[in-house]
Amino acid sequence: MPYAGRVDKTMGADTVGHLKHLLETELKRAREENGLDIAMFLGVDGRIFSSSIPNQLDPRQYRLLNLLKGNLAHICSQLSGQNMMLSVQQFEAGTIVISGVGDRAFLVFLTTKTVEITKMQGVLANVLKASIVVRHLFESRPITPEILASYDEAVAGELKRLTRILFVEKFGETKEFKKNKEIAQYLQLKLGALVGPGPLQEIVTMAYNEVGSTAPYMTGSHWERFLTILVDRLREIEGDSVAAKAEKEWRAHLKQVLSSFV
């Protein structure tokens, strides 16, 4: 999907890796924003799909985690057999919040902080929101404006924020970004060898500005126009024959990179 000219740059999950990243990001955000210690996303068969656990656990957190592990079979049976939807359990070691994610999975949040059940309204609302978001991701549903419109504002806002986070953190790993980077480097290298470093910077910067985008977001048509501008400037500096030879070589390379599968 071309990003040039798009005001709101966001990215949907195109790969399993992206989906996993979104899931982990949501768990981390839910844990950190609500001041909870551990967040886990599990299946009713006890498998952990994803988790957000600090690198170091203090003894109380460890104890609470063990308590959860001990109760896991019971929790799973409640979720699968009794359709448990939400559960808040308070122990001396801390509090466990369990929220169902569809029929076959659930979220668990642990906190060792002292919390009053009567004051957990906000946290529980956020846990329910996280459950809906995780369910959406778990079901691999796309994040389109039409689908977002079917959710309430908080859930839609969170899903939208996740697509933005995914863009910021993963756009640099996409195929189109890598292709664009390769083309930009190739053209800079080739033009630099012909005109020298000083004019190179001026020509390239002005060409990007004229095209109205920058290297990471360029599309095929942007590159065609960009190359035409470069060749025109090269013709002014080095003459027709150098420009004609360069254009033939560069356009062939551009076509090859843009049409390549990888």
């Binding site: 000219g5 005001v7 500005n209 109205g212 985008s213």
Partner: protein, 206 residues
């Protein structure tokens, strides 16, 4: 003749409605005129800038506009989301010159309206026509789309017929432009503004 007569009209208006009334009147004129100019759509910045250079856009109504493509505005992701545009001569300078030669000094009403606008709306006006002008551009920007996105206009700097200059500290921050760059541009241009894609993330964290 009609534009020279306008100078005395403003004096009359100020007597009847006060300086704040004239400011409101000019803003309504800007709104109304902009609403009568049709919608425009461009495939991308290249086609929009070509249209500006060729005087085909609504912005060209005010005379020759130069797209300063060396001064592109980028969003937090580094993508180009706008440019600076400038006019070498304000389209009202001929009116002001004719008034000064034909009638004499510019009416104090001009300064009263300008001061009122600068104090209460946006400290950027160098003559009373700036009031109309800023609103007109802001409104027509909403009717122009580039790559499917409507534009937003930010008036950045002005130079009046007396040589007085104004730089909008509020707007230069919004589009991430240094005030010194504006000062440099005011050597050659009388009015500088930015057109950016409406809703673009210009500042803040990614």
């Amino acid at each position: 003749m009609i534009d020279v007569a306008l100078a005395s009209l403003i004096e009359d208006m100020i007597e009847k409605a006060g300086a704040d009334g004239v400011v409101e009147f000019w803003q309504r004129v800007g709104d109304n005129l902009a609403s009568r100019v049709g919608k425009e759509a461009y495939l991308g910045w290249t086609s929009f800038n070509v249209a500006v250079r060729e005087g085909r856009t609504a912005f060209s109504i005010e005379g020759e506009v130069t797209p300063l493509t060396d001064m592109a505005i980028t969003d937090v992701d580094g993508d180009v989301v706008g440019y600076l545009y400038a006019t070498r001569q304000c389209c009202y300078v001929p009116t002001i010159s004719r008034t000064r030669f034909a009638v004499g000094r510019i009416s104090p009403a001009d300064k009263a309206v300008t001061d009122e606008y600068n104090e209460n709306v946006h400290n950027i006006a160098v003559c009373n026509f700036c009031v109309f002008h800023e609103r007109f551009r802001e409104e027509i920007a909403k009717n122009v789309t580039v790559s499917g996105n409507p534009l937003a206009c930010f008036l950045l700097a002005t130079r009046g017929w007396t040589g007085e200059t104004k730089i909008s500290s509020k707007n230069v921050v919004q589009v991430n432009i240094n005030e010194d760059h504006m000062r440099a541009l005011l050597r050659n241009y009388e009015c500088v503004y930015a057109l950016v894609l409406r809703g673009a993330r210009l500042t803040g964290e990614r």
